[in-house]
Symmetry: C2
Subunit: 424 residues, 2 copies
């Protein structure tokens, strides 16, 4: 089945302000349609040679000297590159650790700062591991806090009324994903920040599913703190480090729970007692994973060059296009919307629900519809189509819908076993 | 000045059981004499092509599929490779995080397990950042613990009497470096473990300056817990991850303070509440830094193939050779021993002290003596010569001493400014 929208798609792609970027990424042989940039971004071509240089030229040739020739200052330099992408000042952002570790550090420091208060608020759409961290902190702090989880009435979004009901003058901390991992529901950060501030509560935003695809207006919205990862829309590679953000004026009030070597004021003085670094560096722990940091040099430059507002514009265009194709061709075949209808209330992926979602997703990945197409699956029935505006095209979305129609109408997904992989 | 020992050195190198390994490492152009494998190990040649494959073949070609094609199980596989190198069972070792982070996790869990006890014991030769972590934990746990630091009478070693005096029935935890970073003083692990056990205290060993060069007899000595890094003698590359060890029977009693995603029993079920993994994996936090892990595939295989006992034998031979050259040629020029005299009480680096240590060290690195020679410097006056038996040779040590004699006798170090680099 060939959809008539292909011509329009090609025209739209030809007119895209970002069209030059696609060729800056590595495309395998045979090429696949990659709609999972919301899990792991594509490899920029320049990263290949940059990593060669890192391994052979820096580690191999320069050995320990590499630390004074760029590695030691790398986290700060990369953090300064990331800062404008999330509307922050250079000294407010630190690339380090993982999302979970960074959330642990910030939430622990926040609970100490708000030690008289006893509730922590999150929502049921949040990434579950954020909740694991909070549960652990409740235990670590003696079990005196209670964790309040705002529910979602439709499984897609959270009502501000339901959320705000839980935020009281006894709330120490609110932890939310700016963009929900399953439905792509996106909060109005400013609205939440202002409400929390009116109650004297701190807020930590998890930007993992937003940064690099959606403008995260940290400064403009008066955000206190944030965490995120760099391996999704920021294209940092598998297991690339996380980052944390702390608003300038809050920094002196927050004490890192883990007093790490690289967070010391002078790590190489080897003084026997801890003295925190002046700035955000005090939230670093140990030696940064240099080889996992280096790809960010390339990918953050690309994001900056494209411009986050232009990226958002293209993301909206692509997501909207997929939604309209879905309404026309997929809903009649049993799919339904797993995402907010208002484009201003969602991030950069589109979740389509189908009772056979898992097997349909695998059928796409295995190329049963003709093309290898890679989205991912989230329980119980969501296929997530991640839109990474630097490399995804309208034409890819048309082909994806063509493949879905074929897989459903010819029941090709029935060839797939129900058994799931370790990583979905 | 050419030393007569060069002939003997070449013979010794020609007869070395490990001589084939040197050619398996990358040697830059021009070659340097690298005596800093105790800070950052050399690059194995095979790591170059392995990393190319990781970047282009795995991330680039396979994208998100890489997680089910090796990345997800990588920490466990590499941990199983590391385990025999430190005399542990596969399920007792986990490659994750950094030394500081791992020490934080284990020490926090240990303090909770021994909650009735109020002292933590370490020594003044320990790596300072281990002490920073402990100081932070004292604060986090309400300030009820006191940190007792055993002193060193000679700045080189710690007397067991002085240490044991501090370990009492009120001691929750003892944290020591198996090999001291400055002097290379090495504890008798078994003796400390047994004494601590007699008082009911737990012990965490920091193996950073030992593993890969010295057999760390964790199981044999009855060790409770350990942490370490992989970028020194284990040749994992700049910022390669740390590891932790927990004795099998202690594992159920230790609760990870950071309840991380990858430590969940079923991370991809996305359940809203935390359930720890059965085994040591519960001590993982977030997504592992894949590109920083991969070099360990190559380097751990090399260590296993060489055999840790053979490595130790060669390390003793090389260290002893450097000591005898130093006694003959360097002590008369103002150097003195910064290391224990008994070879069974030291690790695999030799610290030579000199009032002009910093500038002499820099003169070596800048090649002022004729060859570029890379040791490192530790305050106040130690030049550390790290001996990595897989690639260092007796001949390199003769050339190093020749260069030192020239630099001192011709006062070449006076060309070096006193100003220090950020990373020493």
């Amino acid at each position: 089945m060939s959809l008539p929208e292909k011509t329009e798609a090609r025209e739209l792609d030809g007119n895209s302000a970002l069209k030059e970027f696609r060729a800056e990424f590595f495309h395998g042989t045979p090429e696949c349609i990659y709609l999972d940039g919301n899990s792991l971004g594509r490899l920029p071509l320049k990263t290949i040679s940059r990593m060669e240089r890192a391994v052979k030229g820096e580690w191999g040739e320069r050995l320990i000297r590499g630390w004074n020739e760029g590695w030691y200052t790398m986290p700060e330099k990369l953090s300064a590159q990331l800062a404008p992408v999330i509307d922050a000042e250079a000294g407010e952002v630190l690339i380090t650790g993982t999302v979970s570790l960074n959330l642990y550090k910030l939430a622990d420091a926040a609970l100490r700062m708000k030690s008289g208060r006893s509730t922590i608020v999150t929502d049921s759409l949040n990434f579950p591991s954020d909740i694991y961290i909070l549960e652990g902190l409740v235990r670590n702090h003696g079990g005196h806090h209670s964790l309040r989880i705002a529910g979602s009435r439709d499984g897609i979004s959270v009502s501000y009324d339901d959320l705000f009901e839980l935020i009281t003058e006894d709330t120490a901390l609110v932890v939310l994903s700016l963009v929900a991992f399953k439905s792509a529901f996106m909060y109005d950060m400013k609205r939440v920040n202002e409400y929390a501030r009116s109650k004297g509560a701190l807020v930590i935003w998890d930007l993992s599913h937003a940064a690099g695809a959606v403008p995260c207006r940290l400064n403009e919205s008066g955000a206190h703190m944030a965490v995120g990862c760099t391996y999704k829309y920021l294209n940092g590679g598998p297991g690339a480090p996380g980052y944390l953000y702390i608003r300038q004026d809050l920094l002196p009030e927050l004490e890192p729970p883990i007093q790490g070597w690289f967070g010391h004021a002078d790590p190489f003085a080897f003084s026997l007692s801890y003295k925190p670094a002046q700035g955000i560096r005090k939230f670093m722990t140990g030696t940064p994973p240099v080889l996992s940091l280096i790809p960010l040099e390339i990918s953050l430059e690309m994001i900056s060059r494209a411009g986050i507002n232009q990226i958002r514009k293209q993301s909206k265009a692509l997501c909207g296009f997929l939604v309209s194709l879905s309404e026309k061709y997929l809903y009649p075949l049993g799919f339904s919307a797993g995402f907010p209808q208002n484009e201003n209330e969602r991030g950069s992926h589109i979740s389509l629900r189908h009772p056979e979602g898992y097997r349909i997703c695998k059928a796409l990945i295995q190329g049963l519809g003709g093309e290898v197409i890679i989205p991912d699956f989230r329980e119980p029935d969501n296929i997530r189509f991640g839109i990474s505006p630097l490399y995804n095209t309208h034409e890819e979305l048309v082909v994806t819908v063509e493949n879905l129609v074929k897989i459903i109408s010819e029941r090709l997904y029935e060839q797939i076993p129900f058994q799931k992989d370790a990583v979905t």
